[in-house]
Symmetry: C2
């Protein structure tokens, strides 16, 4: 989803979207995330200046930065911090869709330069990872869902053709 | 969701769940995931033997292992591989819920011992990361959703009290 009309997204819609994000599970329920919501067009432009691959950002009604803090995650693990924030982000994407809006993940992590830019523009402390910059907006209707279902693909380093879905059931074991 | 009745999950239900997983976005649409579905109780018991924290696994109708392959991810990045598989996993959890089933993520990654065990039991090649072991089953109804919404919490290394949601809009900038 990259084609937005430029229309605004309301505070009520954004509140619902963030609630969906917070509803995702986190390792041992540590909730290491936080969320930055930007609706100010000038601020969005500032962000865009350091995010050349964030296509469509100029027409987004809002952007949401899902942040995560290894210090607050289970075992102070950066791995869990990233996974936890990823699940929250997927909930955010699905919530936008369910509300007739569009959401598009553009990368910040793992790029040091992009994370630094996002931190600087938004005043995000060191130690807090801005995982992504999610564009939220009113869809033009141009974007169509991709078909990604596949039963067969190569898996493993030898690249041999195998099922991308493996079944272990009593019959074939 | 950890309390399952022990009832089976049908192949049709599992197919729908995996389709939901595959519908999640992946960085530059690389789809580095694959999925292992286990319904054979003996195999599930073998898995359980090396996963002491996977509570409820004995009553799961199936387990799904979401795997991911850095070699197949965008920029051969392990970071993107993990994030991509995390988004697919969240879709799987939400699909189980939407179908009246329950899903529960138990960890494999980032624990070397657990990943090794899962690889050995299921014949997963080196180079393929078994991210998790998702328990899928028929819920007993004991588990209630957690309330996780929070407007205020401390963020950043100094631990100062700040909003867990930050707004940047034209008014407060």
């Amino acid at each position: 989803m990259k084609s937005f009309t430029g229309a605004a997204v309301s505070p009520e819609q954004l509140d619902k979207i963030i609630r969906a994000g917070m509803a995702a599970p986190t390792a041992v329920n540590k909730q290491p995330w936080s969320f930055v919501i930007v609706t100010d067009k000038k601020k969005i432009d500032e962000l865009a200046a350091g995010l050349p691959t964030a296509r469509g950002i100029d027409k987004a009604g809002a952007v949401i930065i899902v942040c995560t803090e290894p210090n607050k995650a289970y075992l102070q693990s950066k791995d869990f911090a990233i996974i936890d924030a990823s699940l929250a982000s997927e909930n955010i994407l699905l919530a936008t869709e369910a509300m007739g809006l569009g959401g598009h993940w553009t990368a910040s992590y793992p790029y040091e330069d992009k994370m630094k830019h996002v931190r600087t523009v938004l005043g995000i402390p060191t130690g807090v990872i801005p995982l992504n910059v999610i564009l939220v907006g009113v869809p033009t209707g141009e974007d169509k869902p991709k078909e990604k279902y596949q039963r067969i693909k190569s898996i493993g380093e030898n690249g041999s053709q195998r099922n991308s879905i493996h079944f272990h059931n009593a019959k074939n074991d």
